[in-house]
Amino acid sequence: MKVSVLGAAGYTGGELLRLVHTHPELDLVQAVSRRYAGRPVAEVHPNLHHLGLTFQPPQELSPVDTAFLALPSGASAEVEAGVGEVAGTIVDLSPDFRAGASSASGETYRTGLPELYGDDLPGAARISVPGCMATAAVLALAPLRRAGLVAGDAVVDARTGSSGSGAEPGPASHHAERGQAFRVYRPTGHRHETEIAAHTGVRARMTVTAVPAVRGVQVICHVTPPEPVTRRDVLRVLQHAYRDRPFVRVVARSRGVHRLPDPQFLSGTNFTDVGCAVDEDGRRIVVVAALDNLVKGAAGGGVQSLNVARGLPEQTGLEFPGLHPA
């Protein structure tokens, strides 16, 4: 299947290049960048040095089966119609088409989250991948909600690495400011709250902290159950929900140093790890979820959704298991 990546010089774009290269059924036609057109891809993504790729200008899009849009909010919306003319399928990572929006071609975007919308995806020609923190929180909360374990609002404490805001430098991402930061940059009112509500029906009261990591999202969801529950009750719900989902692992060990989901072990992988604990009185459930924002939270989620849409095995091209130690 021929594919192109728009925004290939960005962070999610770079991950798409890596994943497409690994994927046995996908062939890269163009790595598109305005700024770096004509320059070697390795100048921007040194990990891909050995691939010998060159960025292409956006003016000359070749026909492809699938185009990935790894563009900032607004830019996707702007180019979508034009891209639709050369690409049968569009996978968009931006927020532009998330809430079931319509393509310029009239088709409705399906949500690129196979764990919840796997049945919607086969045959899809327009796919929009949810936000990275939203994905983590949704995978943490949706099973509990369905099992009737969520009463009232949830408090969602989210932590994010610096790659979450992309490749564009600025005062907030300057290393000397950001290197050791625990910067509560969005204490209330994060826009992912809406996405979480749309996918789970739970009102999430989020607080987001920029933490000293490059990759990784971790959410701690504090949920009040309608009646006291046990850890065992909640674990059962999670295990049941994700028994057949290759990319969600239930991680809640009672021994060892690493017991609950930790993003450090997920860099480069398409996993979301989910685990839980419960207060002694059974009146608070703590669900922890972690993922790599650039992979499961963006590029990998897009490839996974495309696999499902095209009837390929869901894990194709996404087998990297992550590293320990990290």
Binding site: R232, L235, R236, Q239, R243, A252, S254, R255, G256, R259
Partner: protein, 59 residues
């Protein structure tokens, strides 16, 4: 070798592979949650949470 079957972990409901060679009182460990599980019956296999020492995990 014996056929790989699985039963639910009584703690986390994760799938625990059990062989028909398991004997009562043997301990198996759940891969999902690390719980130590005691075989309390066989044919079919029934597992129960074994009493565990709460291990300190630092910090």
């Amino acid at each position: 070798m014996s056929v790989a079957l699985s039963v639910q972990c009584p703690e986390c409901a994760g799938a625990v592979p059990v062989s028909d060679e398991l004997m009562v009182a043997e301990i198996v460990i759940c891969q999902h949650c690390s719980s130590e599980l005691e075989v309390v019956a066989t044919g079919p296999v029934v597992l129960a949470l074994a009493p565990e020492v709460e291990e300190d995990w630092g910090e």
